[in-house]
Symmetry: D2
Subunit: 349 residues, 4 copies
């Protein structure tokens, strides 16, 4: 079985495993204030070129999103997101569990826009309505698309105009940063947001995300929020150790190397499918692609490949999701393309 199921189906990059093994017998203080976490935070600050911020090691993306939102908002304030956004589509009401509404907008290619932020205020009246106070975006989005520098600048500008906070979910940030279409550096992204995170789980860590908080409205007493939301890990140093391994070397670290690798394989998949005339559910330049294939092809592919059906079948065609990861290899891609090619060419039935 060849896996294009997800970028978290394997364990960690060997260097991450080595770092965990070599530090295993060290004694440290718990809960993420040890030297490894401090050092990892330093690497993050160097990478984004900002000293004046807080860096917290978080166990996962959902805890990160929900804790940030719960920390930022007053009870009557809401966060605005595309309806496809992870906080709305795949977190089982975690945000609402902290008492806050997610105001959903339809999204354009999975993305928020200044106009959609304005639209959230059309529904706003006064104390009888929730107050839109934060914008949530992902870079890249749930459907693999990325925001251009100009797009994030425009959203950031609109947030300032509307007195809103901008939070960027970077579960697959490495993939966005290293894809060919990208023109938004991590330094710029950091400066345009009030908080964002650098995802580890989906790019070569066992688990862990490095959360950066620039705005003290979000960051004040944030460690209380982490613990209150039940997300503070006893052996917090595990995340510090992993991010040391991931980010050592900055732009030349394995973090970027792995993301670039996954992107290249996804691109090869995409180009191969395009050359066969396959259409796509979204225009993704990152490590998730969404080809639309005939039902019989999809069903046969499942015998040898693991992947997800992404959206309901329509007229016999099924959008699927293929995800490449740090551990994917060219042979796997070639095998997939070869199988599709044969199936598309052969009469089915």
């Amino acid at each position: 079985m060849i896996f294009f199921q997800s970028d978290y189906s394997q364990g960690a990059h060997p260097k991450v495993m080595e770092a965990l093994a070599s530090t295993n017998l060290e004694h440290t203080v718990g809960y993420g204030v040890d030297e490894h976490c401090v050092h990892a935070a330093k690497l993050v600050k160097e990478l984004i070129g900002i000293e004046d911020c807080d860096v917290h090691m978080m166990v996962g993306g959902t805890p990160c999103n929900v804790t940030v939102i719960a920390a930022a908002l007053k009870p009557y304030e809401a966060v605005v997101a595309a309806r496809t956004g992870h906080i709305y589509s795949h977190e089982t009401g975690g945000v609402e569990g902290t008492g806050h509404r997610i105001i959903t907008m339809p999204g354009v290619d999975g993305k928020m826009t200044p106009a959609l932020i304005d639209a959230a205020f059309v529904e706003y009246e006064d104390e009888h309505t929730v107050l839109p106070r934060m914008v949530y975006i992902s870079q890249p989005t749930e459907i693999g698309t990325i925001y251009s520098k100009a797009e994030v600048e425009a959203i950031s500008e609109k947030c300032k105009e509307r007195n809103m906070l901008l939070y960027i979910d970077g579960a697959r940030l490495g993939s966005a940063l290293t894809c060919k279409e990208n023109d938004l550096s991590i330094k710029e992204l950091a400066r345009l947001s009030d908080a964002f995170y650098i995802g580890g789980t989906k790019n070569g860590a066992l688990f862990g995300e490095a959360l950066v908080i620039r705005n003290p409205i979000i960051g004040e007493n944030f460690r209380f929020m982490i613990k209150r939301q039940c997300n503070m890990m006893a052996k917090g140093r595990l995340m510090g150790v992993q991010f040391e391994a991931l980010l050592e070397g900055g732009e030349n670290s394995i973090y970027f190397e792995m993301a670039r690798h996954a992107n290249e394989l996804a691109e090869k998949l995409r180009n191969g499918l395009l050359s066969m005339g396959v259409e796509f559910y979204s225009k993704s330049p990152t490590n998730q692609i969404f080809p639309i294939l005939p039902r019989p092809v999809v069903d046969r592919l499942k015998r040898g490949f693991a992947f997800q059906e992404w959206a309901p079948e329509k007229d016999g065609m099924v959008p699927i999701r293929l995800v490449t990861g740090w551990g994917s290899n060219e042979g796997e891609v070639d095998a997939f393309l070869a199988h599709v090619k044969i199936m598309l060419e052969m009469p089915v039935g």
Copy 2:
């Protein structure tokens, strides 16, 4: 100033005031378990023709909605509603404040449909998504439209198929029940729902709604929920006394008389405006109507009439909301129509 601002701009029907005055010096137990509340509950049960249900006197519509939803749902369960529904559009995130998501659907004439319920399940996957478990509708809707008997039957059927609860917000239920287009009796409505309420605040009470709960999944220990949600009134008998006055006589009670009166005046307003060629924002047969008038007309009307602009101006035309109440009278309607007629006929400038 003539008021078409709301149906809660005045106090209570004189008979309600008399009942409050005549019982004022009685001593009773508190918190809504006194004889007046018990008697009012009996009147409600007779009216709906169902003995096997719980009736609770609630302070207002929002407390009623939110307490029912919080009582009915497990933390990961969600309620589905039209985006115009009161729980989404005018309750400042009260539902989310109890930890639950409102899944919004666009609505058809402000109404939910079986197809829209199915649509909520398209977004549902598994433990990564909230579980749609309740449907919220209002009779009439926020924009004055009403569900036909067949429509509520279809929704109720779909709810059973989907293992969902059906809750009906009856803030203006009297208006729906007494309007000419209505073919759904309160007895039928009661049998088709798991819970619903008979609104008092907007139909001649000082305050108070009579909540009917038929399904024990919602009703178990409901008085704990009322208190926990901070909605239990010390002098609970005030609501019992009012509903005694409102419902004495059943179908011939002042409750229905007042609603019919308000509807007739709204109809007169509507017909008058239609005869001048005015168009409407929604096809409402109830006591709220939504004519669309030119901006200069709207602005001049404001000098003598109180009403609300309902939706954003478009091409110089403004949808406004006119609401008639138990205290409205024919003279007020005639005056409004006369003013509009003159303004529409006269050149503005």
Copy 3:
């Protein structure tokens, strides 16, 4: 049946009823921003001698307490109270329902002290513990005792030292202010607290409490909080009208007259019982007293009087609660005393 069950077993003072009747047909805007509410707020501000504060008309005491606490605290912050305090003992977890802990202290005569506030900080460590941030006290307490001026000053001082907010529940504030032992004026109480309320429900209103907020940490966007907590009444003017009637005349208003009346009758009850050698559960100078009577006496009294057993029977003796109200009269008190006298003197058996 003679009622010493509660001070909310009757309706409202006749002048309150008159005010409601005489304003009944007025049209006003809804939700508590009408002229009556504005005027009532003015009366409150004059009474407390503070212009720079917010006054909100609230439906009841529990909504008031919970909304204030939810508005004041961040998710990881807690409120400290005596374990007998209303928010802990009789609100069904309303505070916890908004996500906050109540840190309970044993209380001294039902009261908090600076030492008990310090004790709350002994349990405080760091981000692994909640942060005590508000002190809740009632004047008078649940067991009828009152704080002296010096005691509230000391608590207020300790709050400042500890960076805590002081909130005073005034459900029966009138009774405290008008009792003989009291040396704390409402003006002083107002200046020593960050927020407090003047209770109407238990002193001659149908319902309603006048909440005063001096500290913007609590008061910012408070109307959003009222609505989000489902406590905003459509016909909000009802509370304005009532407080106009209650407070017209300031120190000479019926508010103080009623409270003084209730206190005098409670004192007569207390003195009468003391003269028979009856002991008390607490030293209450206000309108609630807690005599301890033999079980057979208590059981016989129940045939003619309504009151509450307050604490578990011990050695055959039962602490009961007697509450006098604005509508209580001297004949009722005399009757009670006469009955107890006979029963205590006669052999029971």
Copy 4:
């Protein structure tokens, strides 16, 4: 520096690390439903001798506690615990964050008793009070003491009588099960509880706890609860792999071997200190002990040993906590005892 700071200051047992390394490149499905988690669950079921239960791999103890409580309780229901219990003393209001009260009782040697459960019901009245519905205990407690079989049986019996659920926090369950005083087997403990967990984090895992749920009131749709509470790990198999390594061999597994080792070293520490006349803050037979030492001794020990001051200094004496772990060794214990001996014998000054 020698560490008696905590049993989570080091990484994982070498066999756990080996298991993680050897499975690192496997592709599996995410979120804890992979074969390793299934196999680990099987090992747990064999160990406790119960097939009919759910086993969930949880990231940590606090997420486990809070998710269980939030799943089990209705909004107005509360959990009863000793005030020293972890959910009250060290989880920053996580439980209250889900809307539930923790009713605290003073505890006897850190333990709950049937009488203390009854005491919680003295405060219970009706819908004005929270409803005690679950008892939380830890085996061992926060201060190292353990419940005897008879004690847990009595609590379990009382829970049945009171219609309450019994949940046992087993963060250090291994230490309780393997200590000399213990007479309660894991099989018996499992049968006496509605849910409990076998702690990994504090006994040789990197992280992870194996939660066992026997009562469907808690267990229904529990995976929705895990995700909604933001505790579902993408690479969930990491916990399965660890518990496979920890529990392989059942009673002879490294899980019990490590716990026994830690206990033996703690006992050696305790006996050594007892022989010097040192008194203890609690009678702990497990891997946490709490000697009370003079302030100057404590301060000097800090130069070479890491440990925690546990309770406030009193008359110059300080209760400290010493914790041994799977990685502690006899030399460390001997060194500590030697240092204390010298200091206690020598004049300080």
